[in-house]
């Protein structure tokens, strides 16, 4: 049985970003991670006639991304650091999938933060700057910085639809 375009599109839209994050753990490079995932979906399209024989397409996609990444690391120049190999070896397949899905949600939520809050959030979490250092760089008070990071973390953790549920209930 051949997979329809609609089904294929659904696989892509559900798993694209989590798979990119999955690949990013191996490769540490967003561009390469996206290339891998594009390649995997091209292969999936080529295999669409055999898809009915694959038990779990999701598990297949994660395995395929993993294998592709490991091959790339193996084939890369010896400058590739050894510790990058198989960063998921302590996790079960299920845990790897859950982590990738969670990280895809975090990525999306950072995307959706207001610009100034995103900037401050990244200074704290990416650059590891203290609130005091961020305050000095941005000219804002330490309290304001604290507030921005607190609220960014809230929107990562909290359910954004509380107010809507309350309103329409």
């Amino acid at each position: 049985m051949q997979v329809s375009e609609k089904q294929f599109s659904k696989y892509f839209h559900t798993h694209y970003r989590p798979l990119c994050l999955h690949a990013l753990h191996f490769l540490g490079n967003t561009e390469e991670a996206e290339d891998v995932v594009q390649e995997i979906f091209m292969k999936l399209w080529d295999k669409r006639e055999q898809l009915a024989t694959i038990k779990s397409v999701k598990a297949y996609l994660y395995k395929a991304v993993r294998n592709n990444c490991l091959t790339r690391i193996r084939d890369a120049k010896p400058t590739t650091s050894l510790e990058m190999v198989a960063p998921d070896q302590l996790l079960s397949d299920e845990e790897v999938e859950e982590r990738s899905e969670m990280e895809a949600r975090i990525w999306k939520m950072i995307d959706e933060l207001p610009e100034r809050r995103r900037h401050i959030f990244l200074m704290a979490k990416r650059d590891g700057l203290s609130y005091k250092e961020i305050a000095a760089q941005t000219g804002l008070t330490v309290k304001t910085i604290e507030n921005h990071v607190f609220r960014a973390m809230q929107s990562l953790r909290a359910n954004d639809f509380n107010a809507y549920i309350f309103f329409f209930a």
């Binding site: 694209y16 540490g28 959030f121």
Partner: protein, 273 residues
């Protein structure tokens, strides 16, 4: 639970370290992929393009402007004096002189969206499946069926709720504030200031200056506002909810504010995780 939290923190750090705006975008990825896939959708695209081209050509040749006028948003302007109008969903608007209201042909399909400038009263027909959404340059207001006034000028937006409940969202900070009958919200875009008034109480918040002033508000009103503002769940024992409070805070975090209130009023407000 602790492990779970550590996992989230690790993931937040990992994502933040690699985050780049616009990267890992599913829509872009899909576009890129479908361009390279052999045999994917090409037939459909051609038919669609051919159809659009044929329609466009027909319109150009015949010179009929119907297509344009159907698609063009409907704009109402109260040029001189007040102006009352009934929208396609039978909601009524009363526009003060100078007010403008715009809606397009999708009005009522999935929701009921209008954009406005100036001062307008809305008497909205109830339809729980299609929220009525009013946008001004500085805020958006979502309702199901109610009566309210919106006043907009270059400074900001004011909402007065006559009956029912209305969800008010300023452009920045984009927090959702629920207002019930008798409440008035005044939002000033410049200082990102939100002022909420009821009959005898008011709460003022300035995001830019990080100031919070409360005048004669009950703990219940305050918790409702703060929990929506910070997107957290706040709780206090029921007997403490009617207590009134007048206070001003400047440069304090939400946790410090709650601690000060708890110590001063001997209340037991807490953040529910």
């Amino acid at each position: 639970m602790q492990k779970n939290r550590n996992d989230i923190d690790d993931s937040v750090r990992f994502v933040a370290q690699h985050y780049q705006q616009g990267v890992f975008d599913t829509a872009n990825g899909w576009k890129k992929l479908t361009h390279t896939l052999p045999g994917f959708r090409k037939g459909h695209y051609l038919t669609l393009v051919a159809r659009v081209a044929a329609v466009a050509l027909l319109l150009l040749v015949s010179g009929i402007g119907i297509w344009m006028s159907v698609n063009r948003p409907r704009q109402l302007v109260a040029e001189s004096g007040n102006y009352a109008f009934t929208l396609p969903d039978r909601s009524e608007v009363v526009m003060q002189e100078g007010a403008e209201l715009t809606y397009d042909r999708r009005f009522g399909q999935q929701d009921r969206r209008v954009a406005m400038l100036g001062d307008i009263r809305f008497i909205v027909t109830r339809d729980e499946t299609k929220p009525f959404i009013v946008t001004t340059p500085t805020a958006s207001i979502t309702v199901l069926g109610t009566v309210f006034d919106v006043s907009e000028n270059e400074e900001g937006t004011t909402l007065s709720v006559i009956s029912g409940r209305v969800l008010f969202t300023p452009v920045s900070p984009a927090v959702q504030l629920l207002c019930s009958a008798g409440m008035r919200i005044h939002y000033k875009a410049k200082g990102e200031e939100i002022n909420v008034f009821s009959d005898d109480a008011s709460i003022f918040y300035s995001a830019k200056r990080n100031e919070l002033s409360i005048h004669n508000a009950t703990i219940e009103q305050l918790l409702q506002l703060l929990s929506q503002y910070y997107n957290i769940q706040l709780e206090a024992p029921e007997e403490e909810l009617p207590l009134h409070l007048t206070a001003s805070f400047s440069g304090k975090s939400i946790i410090e504010i709650l601690n000060i209130i708890n110590i001063t009023l001997d209340t037991h407000i807490q953040i529910v995780h």
